[in-house]
Amino acid sequence: MRRYLGSALAAAACVAASLVMAGGGTEWSAAERAVLATLRLNQLPPAPADPSNRVATLPAAATLGKRLFFDRRLSSNGAVSCASCHDPQLQFQDGKAVAQGVGTGIRRTMPIGSAGHTPFLFWDGRKDSLWAQAVGPLEDAAEHGGNRLAFAHLMRAHYRQDYESVFGKLPDLEGLPADAGPLGTAAQQEAWQALAPERRSEVSRVLANIGKAIAAYERTLHHGETRLDRYIGAVLDGDPAAGDILSAAEIQGLRIFIGKGRCVTCHNGPLLSDQQFHNTGIAPHGPAEQALGRRSGAAKVLRDEFNCLGPYSDARPEQCGELQFLAADGPTLEGAFKAPSLRGVALRPPYMHAGQLAGLDAVIAHYRAAPPARYGRSELRPVALSGEEAQYLRAFLLSLDGAIVERER
């Protein structure tokens, strides 16, 4: 009996929400206010601890990581740093459809902000920690194009004291070649295989520690408050000035966002993301394996030597729950990509995992149409919005600007 009552009330709430919207009012029902309250940035708890990185919250590691983040010497051509694609002036992304490092990448650069809250990194979740993510581009042929032995030499030459004060002694690299790594050129791979296993392990640990320092820095990058947060605060406080914070169109758009637009289904919580992987029928980009998204990302993270269960992790196996209980199978992984945070979304076209949609109009049109997926099955159903409602939703999304701020917690 009670469940019928619950459903009836829920349906009534939906009807009530639509009625208020139809009337163009700015009043919020109790249920809507409860939803709004969950979206406020001040509801975001501190990022969970990362037991796989024992220096994750060490200020000296963050200081070292920040220097490394901006250091162009960490690339094969001396011209690419993490900040080349993760530009602090652009929410730590680059505004390009696909990243441009020493070569051309395959996916859209993801912004950095409150990144310590996500269990899996990259569009396909192929890394399970910030530090494991950070080491990926360093050795990627299209991004930094570096190799781990060259990075170890660089740390000895330029960062020895700072590195050793955080991580302990650097390995002795005397007599080793300048370049060697398991993912580099044929010559670099050959040089890597020629090293004794314990040397390879020592050098790999330096690379892991570079990642851990960069991760400690990245954990200091947080989303700043936006007008949305101030508006919701004012609504919840019953402040009549709330209507001065967002425009009438933006408020209508917010109502669609949490209501009939169903945006909040996946873009929920204070980061406006459920941090999960969804197939939304976006046109595939690149070869099939790449287009499979989470399907291939899940397989990659399980075999990644830098994952939580790997030899360079500081975690005990029982602290690696996300990896231990990773869903690596099932049809819903195919063509699924990460739902990104919408904080700051107004400032970073183009959209989707390879910049397939140029602007917010195209994004909203995509969700209204809900085209079928070429790989796997789209989770979307068409959203019936009028042209006017689509403009309201666009106005709301454009209100999501906001800066990335650096602070310890």
């Binding site: 019928y4 829920a10 929400a17 949490i258 289904t265 929920n268």
Partner: protein, 140 residues
């Protein structure tokens, strides 16, 4: 299970799912009979209220129709959100036989509010039994 049924919270959950209501006749009981052998399967969360976005554990209790504990069963866990065509964000599994027909299921995670299914396949001496539980999670 009051946490699933408080009407106001239910309404919030429904709104969060963009007015995509769970079917009105949904059976939310956490004690159900399996098919085909009518084993009584009872699940309960070990963290209440059930958290969103966090790994947590559940306990499963199995008993025969005449009330005897079902021991030594092999259980697989599946599920997802039928209205969104996605599975569980994690792959939960039984990590411990707690004895007396009780089993620990770890690695459960729900990424959003709304209607979720938890499906169990229970392999016993007489074959495989199946049961599906429905949960409607409010925003915590």
């Amino acid at each position: 299970m009051m946490i699933f049924l408080r009407p106001a919270l239910f309404a919030v959950a429904t709104l969060l799912a963009g007015c995509m209501s769970a079917p009105p006749a949904l059976d939310l009981s956490l004690s159900r009979a399996t098919a085909p052998h009518g084993i009584r399967a009872e699940i309960k969360p070990l963290t209440e209220p059930v958290p969103l976005q966090k790994l947590h554990a559940w306990e499963l209790k199995l008993s025969t129709p005449d009330g005897q504990p079902v021991t030594g069963a092999r259980i697989t866990v599946d599920g997802g959100m039928p209205q969104h065509h996605h599975g569980l964000p994690t792959q939960p599994r039984v990590t411990k036989d707690l004895g007396n027909g009780r089993y620990l299921i770890e690695g459960v995670k729900f990424s959003m509010s709304g209607w979720w299914e938890i499906k169990l396949a229970i392999e016993g001496p007489n074959g495989t039994d199946k049961v599906t539980f429905n949960l409607v999670l409010p925003e915590s």
